[in-house]
Symmetry: C2
Amino acid sequence: MARMDYTRDNMAGLLRSHDINPTHQRIEIAHALFSRQEHLSADQVMAFVNTRHSETSKATVYNTLKLFLDKGLVREVIVDPSKVFYDPNTSPHHHLYEVDSGKLSDIDARSVQISGLPQLPDGMVTEGIDLIVRVRRQR
Amino acid sequence: MARMDYTRDNMAGLLRSHDINPTHQRIEIAHALFSRQEHLSADQVMAFVNTRHSETSKATVYNTLKLFLDKGLVREVIVDPSKVFYDPNTSPHHHLYEVDSGKLSDIDARSVQISGLPQLPDGMVTEGIDLIVRVRRQR
DNA sequence: CCGGAGATTAGACAAAGTCCAGATTGCCTA
DNA sequence: TAGGCAATCTGGACTTTGTCTAATCTCCGG
């Protein structure tokens, strides 16, 4: 089910299908993330959304990203101690993080096998498994 | 090679063996981490070190933790977007993170197998593989 | 046209971490 | 013992990321 295009119009549908009221700001933010298909920090989203003229406040960017997260539209990636990245790809995958450049890319989860994880204590459920491969330029 | 005891005296040797000049503050910080064998944030280290009377400044705590990291005495664990944890256990292991409580515990790496990771681009080397299992209380 | 719920806003605030210039420490040599 | 030097430590100002709040705006149904 290849998504054809990340136009602003299609964003409205995407939002609605995730039970999110598609307002102007939300469409812009979704567009910033999905049209790029990249991992963006809140700051970067802010910058992209407000390139032409200031349109969207900081509070709204943060609120909206949290809302998207809640509704399962994006994933949170915690690799950099100083900021959170938001990931428009919610299909199962892992991450490759280039420490020096801060570049973050995906590793399809279907090619990777993880086994031998311990049983969880009673009443606990797995919320997610994050696998991060940290790499750097050879010295 | 079971380490017998995390007395302050033994800390001095541990530091020296990692090529770190064992000053009073460094010994206290190492002691805070190793005697507890727990994951502590910089804040928590500060609190422990300064319980009786203020002995060590914030700057020193941060500098020292970074130094320890550099010298391979501790590991950095990035699971919580708001703060970094420092882990006195440097043997290969993964982490289990209880999202609600913030509790962080170890998973021995020997029981876990990871396969199918992609080849790295040329000139890149792996710095580390972080596997984090995020769990929460069942709702 | 009116009312109200939901959405957005500016800006004050909080917490983690960095930076710097000056003070302190410990050690070496004379 | 004194002096000097390098390493270390310090308080405090500063930066950055993110949160909070109270006021305003928008839009829709009646």
